[in-house]
């Protein structure tokens, strides 16, 4: 990890201030304040349409915020001077639908951005790719194409692809929601390993068990606002807000 990229420890990895997002007339984020400290795992839960995925997608500006500030390691990424591609290369992202590149082998999926963005040579890129494939337990699949992998395997490859860029933090957008139930465990195990290594993580999820066990903080969103946040065990067992209680009573 390159230490000069990390400002002093107290600067949040992700710091969202007064974030609003409109899709046409529809306001999906109504003033969000949200932060993730370095090394923390923050889980975001809430009903569908609550704006939790939009919030996560604003963090690397896959969605353009309507107003508000987004600071990544202290740098406002909405500033037009900021090199957005550079910022994104330091934020790993994992999608609900995996989004592996179907025309490339697993190994090429992991080396493409390393070579085009990081400018790494082939040997170095392959070496880093293999380390990360080993980490997600799929070393033997490096020559396979995504279509020949199960959903769980594809998602683990997607995690390895993001890790191959040596990101400072990882965003997970409902990483297990598209998986068959029996495949969820493998992906969550990889995420848990990652958390125990100290990776900064923002996880939009419906996996309450993961949130309770791995998360440092739990954020409950509804209707485009943060309704409640706190230690996962506290929020899950003793929700203070009525809407949180209603949501948890349905999913737990």
């Amino acid at each position: 990890m390159t230490s000069e990229l990390l400002p002093e420890f107290t600067t949040p990895a992700i710091d969202v201030r007064g974030l609003h997002k409109h899709f046409g007339q529809n306001e999906v984020l109504k003033g969000i304040d949200f932060h993730v400290d370095p090394g923390q795992v923050v889980c975001v839960i809430g009903p569908s349409g609550s704006g939790k995925s939009t919030l996560l997608r604003c963090v690397n500006r896959l969605e353009e915020p309507t107003s508000g500030e987004i600071l990544i390691e202290g740098i406002d990424i909405c500033d037009p001077e900021v090199d957005l591609d550079d910022v994104r290369s330091r934020i790993g992202m994992v999608f609900q639908q995996f989004n592996l590149f179907p025309h490339l082998s697993v190994l090429k999926n992991l080396t493409l951005a390393q070579r085009t963005v990081r400018g790494r040579g082939k040997g170095e890129a392959v070496e880093i790719a293999r380390q990360n494939l080993a980490k997600v337990g799929l070393s033997e699949k490096e020559a396979a194409y995504p279509a020949h992998l199960s959903g769980g395997q594809q998602q683990r490859v997607a995690i390895a692809r993001a890790l191959s860029m040596n990101p400072d933090m990882m965003l997970f957008d409902e990483p297990t929601s598209a998986l068959d139930p029996e495949l969820v465990g493998d992906v969550l195990a990889v995420m848990k390993d990652l958390a125990s290594e100290g990776m900064t993580m923002m996880v939009v999820t419906h996996e309450m068990g993961f949130a309770r066990e791995v998360g440092n903080k739990l954020v409950f969103m509804d209707g485009g606002v943060v309704v409640e946040e706190g230690r996962p065990a506290d929020v899950l067992s003793n929700p203070q807000h009525e809407r949180t209680q209603a949501f948890l009573s349905k999913v737990l």
Binding site: N99, F101, T116
Partner: protein, 268 residues
């Protein structure tokens, strides 16, 4: 009457009618003239070398011109397709006008225009003489058609692919050329092969503006044999050219069909 019986009777009736029409045509036709025009001189032509020029000059140039027009058209199409999806409105507008303009004109008109209109109006001749001018015209027309095909292919690539590439820090250009276009090309290989077959046939239009002896494509060679040589005054050389076109195009149309079948299987 049962429905199956009636269906069978209708089928017999149709077949009988077809046989009767063919018989009538065979009786009415003047076989002497037909043979004279299409078949008889074939033997003469064969020995006198029609086939030689038709194949080594005509068919080869047809293939060469098709490949040039296709390659040029494809490059133009990529540029036009990217322009049509550009965030810059002026580029979109220019590409749209271009595509609508050249898709709306007969290729023959564009060829005549490039061959005879442009040199007079602009005091400038496209390189490669009349053939070069004709090829440029074919490139301009083919580019317009293929741009639309490519755009459809690019838009068929899921948005998540672009998002994944951009989230890794890849810029818009490397995302387009390394992630989106390779996938788009797979989708459009059957329609592009089809466009290739259409281009083979469109090269015949080049015969209207003329070419040097060794630069003539298949139709041009065939037409020259209509006016001179042992089969002059007959359609023999046209029949020969037609056979050569089919030898080139039928394997390709079969290839398109095979590619489409394979793709349907792959996407299922």
């Amino acid at each position: 009457m049962k429905r199956t019986t009636r269906t069978r009777l209708v089928r017999y009736g149709v077949n009988l009618a077809i046989v009767l029409v063919l018989l009538a045509l065979a009786l009415v036709a003047d076989w002497g003239v037909i043979k004279q025009n299409f078949w008889n001189p074939l033997g003469v032509a064969l020995s006198d070398g029609n086939w030689g020029d038709l194949i080594t000059i005509g068919a080869l140039n047809t293939i060469k011109y098709t490949v040039i027009a296709f390659a040029g058209g494809l490059v133009l199409a990529v540029v036009l397709a990217l322009m049509r999806m550009s965030p810059i409105a002026t580029l979109r507008w220019i590409a749209t006008v271009y595509v609508e303009f050249f898709r709306g004109l007969p290729a023959l008109v564009v060829i005549l225009f490039m061959g005879f209109g442009v040199p007079i109006a602009f005091q400038w001749s496209p390189p490669g003489g009349l053939v070069g001018a004709g090829l440029l015209a074919l490139i301009m027309v083919a580019g317009a058609y293929m741009a639309e095909t490519l755009r459809a292919g690019i838009q068929a690539v899921p948005k998540g692919q672009t998002e994944a590439a951009r989230s890794l820090g890849m810029g818009p250009m490397s995302t387009m050329f390394k992630v989106v276009l390779p996938q788009a090309f797979r989708v459009v290989i059957p329609p592009l092969t089809n466009e290739f077959v259409l281009l083979i046939k469109d090269t015949a239009l080049l015969s209207v503006i003329g070419a040097e002896f060794n630069g003539r494509e298949l139709t041009n060679v065939a037409r020259d044999f209509q006016s001179s040589g042992p089969s002059a005054g007959t359609a023999t050389s046209l029949v020969q050219a037609a056979l050569l076109y089919l030898v080139i195009t039928i394997p390709l149309t079969q290839l398109v069909a095979w590619l489409e079948r394979r793709q349907r299987k792959a996407t299922r």
